[in-house]
C-alpha cells in the first residue's frame, strides 16, 4: 500500500476534500511551531547558534519569569488537586439536586474567565473591593489584608477560580470507575475505610488525579489574559507568557528572545501533555 506510488488523480480522490484544512492547519499551527524553534537558534548574521538561548538564560527578568511560571504551575496544580479531588469525590456522592447545583456552579465558574475574572477579583479584594470594605466595616480591619492580585499569592488566589472547576469537571467522570460495589465488597471483607482507600481507591484513581495535575500545570503556565490583567500593576509577578507578550509588542526585532521563551513553554506543555496521555492510558485499564 505504502510502497505503491499514488498517481496525482488517485491522491486527489483520497485526500482532496481534506487538503484545504490540512494546508490551513499546517500553515497556522505546524509551521509557526517549527519557525519558533528555528528562530531561537537563528543568529543575526544568518547562522545558527545558542546566542538567544544564553541571552535569555542570563537575563535576570527572564529567569524570574521562568521561575515564576514554573512555581505557579506547580503550586496551582497541587492546590487544584488538593481542593478539586475531595470536592469531586463529595459531588459524586451527592443526591441529584446537590450534584446539579455543584455542576452548574462549576460550569458558571469555568465561564467566568479572562479579563472579567481579574476585574471580579479586584472588585472583591482590591483596595476598595467589597470584601475589603466589609472587613473594615465589621471587624475594623485597616488597610487591605488581601494580597495584591498581581503578586504571586494573589495570582494563586485568582487562578484557582478556573483551575479547581477544570480539575473537578475533568475528574468527575473518572470517579465513577470506583464502583460502589467495591466499597461494599471491601466492607464485607472487614476492610477499614483506610484500608479501602489505601489498597483500592487510591491505586485506581491516582492515574486520573495525576493526569488532572498535569493538565492544570500545562494550562496554568500558558494563561495569558488573566495574567496580563492582574500583572498590569508595577512590581507584579513575572511570567513567561507575559514576557513573550511584552517582547512581541515592544520590539519587532526582539523575536529571538520571544522565540526562546515560546519554545521553552512549548517543550513544557508538550512534555506535560505526553505524560498526561500516558497517565490516561494507564487509567483506562479500569474503564
Amino acid at each position: 500500500m505504502l510502497t505503491r506510488r499514488l498517481s496525482p488523480r488517485r491522491f486527489l480522490t483520497r485526500w482532496g476534500p481534506a487538503l484545504p484544512l490540512l494546508v490551513f492547519t499546517t500553515a497556522t499551527l505546524v509551521l509557526p511551531a517549527i519557525m519558533l524553534v528555528y528562530e531561537s537558534f537563528a543568529l543575526p548574521d544568518g547562522g545558527l547558534g545558542f546566542e538567544h538561548i544564553t541571552k535569555v538564560a542570563s537575563n535576570p527578568v527572564d529567569r524570574q519569569a521562568i521561575g515564576g511560571s514554573l512555581a505557579l504551575g506547580v503550586v496551582q496544580a497541587t492546590l487544584a488537586t488538593a481542593i478539586g479531588a475531595p470536592a469531586a469525590w463529595l459531588i459524586t456522592r451527592m443526591r441529584l439536586g446537590g450534584r446539579a447545583f455543584w455542576l452548574s456552579l462549576m460550569n458558571v465558574a469555568s465561564n467566568f474567565a479572562g479579563i472579567g475574572l481579574a476585574f471580579g477579583f479586584v472588585a472583591l479584594i482590591g483596595s476598595t473591593g467589597m470584601l475589603t470594605l466589609i472587613l473594615k466595616a465589621l471587624l475594623g480591619v485597616e488597610g487591605n489584608p488581601f494580597p495584591s492580585t498581581g503578586s504571586f499569592n494573589g495570582m494563586n488566589l485568582v487562578y484557582l477560580y478556573f483551575n479547581v472547576p477544570m480539575f473537578v469537571l475533568l475528574t468527575l467522570p473518572a470517579l465513577s470507575v470506583l464502583k460502589n460495589d467495591w466499597q461494599e465488597a471491601a466492607e464485607v471483607c472487614k476492610a477499614t475505610r483506610w484500608q479501602f482507600w489505601r489498597y483500592v481507591g487510591i491505586p485506581v484513581l491516582s492515574p486520573f488525579v495525576i493526569a488532572g495535575w498535569l493538565l492544570v500545570f500545562t494550562w496554568t503556565i500558558g494563561v495569558y489574559a488573566v495574567a496580563y490583567a492582574v500583572a498590569a500593576s508595577p512590581g507584579s509577578q513575572k511570567l513567561i507568557t507575559l514576557q513573550i507578550g511584552t517582547t512581541l509588542e515592544t520590539s519587532v526585532f526582539g523575536l529571538g528572545r520571544a522565540a526562546v521563551l515560546s519554545v521553552l513553554l512549548m517543550i513544557l506543555a508538550i512534555g506535560a501533555t505526553v505524560l498526561y496521555r500516558l497517565c490516561l492510558k494507564r487509567a483506562a485499564r479500569w474503564l
Binding site: 480522490t13 483520497r14 476534500p17 481534506a18 484544512l21 490540512l22 490551513f24 492547519t25 500553515a27 497556522t28 499551527l29 505546524v30 509557526p32 511551531a33 519558533l36 528562530e39 481542593i83 475531595p86 455543584w102 460550569n107 458558571v108 469555568s110 467566568f112 474567565a113 479572562g114 479579563i115 472579567g116 481579574a118 476585574f119 471580579g120 472588585a123 472583591l124 476598595t128 473591593g129 467589597m130 470584601l131 470594605l133 473594615k136 484557582l160 477560580y161 472547576p165 477544570m166 469537571l169 475533568l170 468527575l172 493538565l215 500545562t218 496580563y228 490583567a229 507568557t241 507578550g245 512581541l248 509588542e249 519587532v252 523575536l255 520571544a258 515560546s262 513553554l265 506535560a272 501533555t273
Partner: protein, 269 residues
Amino acid sequence: MTRRVFLGLLAVYFGLPLLAALLYSVATRWTDTPLPDGYTLSHWINVFAKPDVVGALGRSLLLSAVVVVIEIVLVVPAAYWSVVHNPRIGSMIQTIAVIPFAIPWVVVGAGIQLVTKSVAPQLFGTFWLLAASTAAISFPFMYRAVESSLLAAGAVQLSEAAATCGASPMRTLLKVIVPAIRGGVVSGALLVIATAMNEFALAKILVGVSFETLPLWSARQFVSRTLGDPNALAVVTIFTFGLLFALSALVVWLGRGRVSASMGGNTIS
C-alpha cells in the same frame, strides 16, 4: 461537619467575585461602604450606547461569524471524507488538533507573527490574520463536533445509498450529509463563537489597537483603571460571562445525552 464547611467555603469563593462584578454593574456610587449606596440600571443602558463598546462588540461578533464560516467550509468536507473514504485524514488531523490544546495560544500567536513577518508582512495587523489564527486555534471543536455527528448519522451508509441513486459526491455532501449533521455543526459553531468572543492572546499580539475586540476593550479599561470606567467594565464583564454561559448551556442542551464531552471540554484533549 468539615464537609459542610469545605463545600460552604468553596461556594462562597466561587460566588463572591461574580457577585462583586454584578453589584458593580448596578451600583450608583460605591466607594467606602460594604454595599453600594444605591442601585441603578443606567450603566447597562449607557454602556450599549457608547460607540467604543458597540464598536468592539460589533468587531467581536464579526470575527466570530467569519471564523465560523471559515471553519464550516474547511472542516465539513475534510471530516466527511475522513469518515467515509480515508480514515488516515482523521488521524492526521487529530494529531494537529493537539497543538491548540497543548501549546499556549500566546505561543501560537508568537509563531504566527514570525511566519507572517517572513512570508507575508502585508498581512500584519489585519483582520484576516486574526480571523485565520482564531479559526486555527478553535478548529478542533468544530472537527470533533462534526465528526461525531457524522458517525451518529451513519454517514457511510447515507453516502452509499446516495451513490447507488447516482448522486455525485458533492451533491451527496450538500443534499444528504449537511442536513443530517446540522446539529453537530451548530454545536461546533457555538463552541467556536464562545472561543472567538473571549479570545485575548491572539488579538492582543496580532492586531492590538487596530482591531479592538471586546476582550481588548475590557483589557484597556482594566489596565487604565483610573481613566477607565469601572461600571462600564462591570457591565461588559457580566455581559460576556452571561453570553459564554448561555452558549455553553446551549451546547449542553443540544447535545443532551452526550453532555460530558463538550462541557468543560474546552480543556479536554
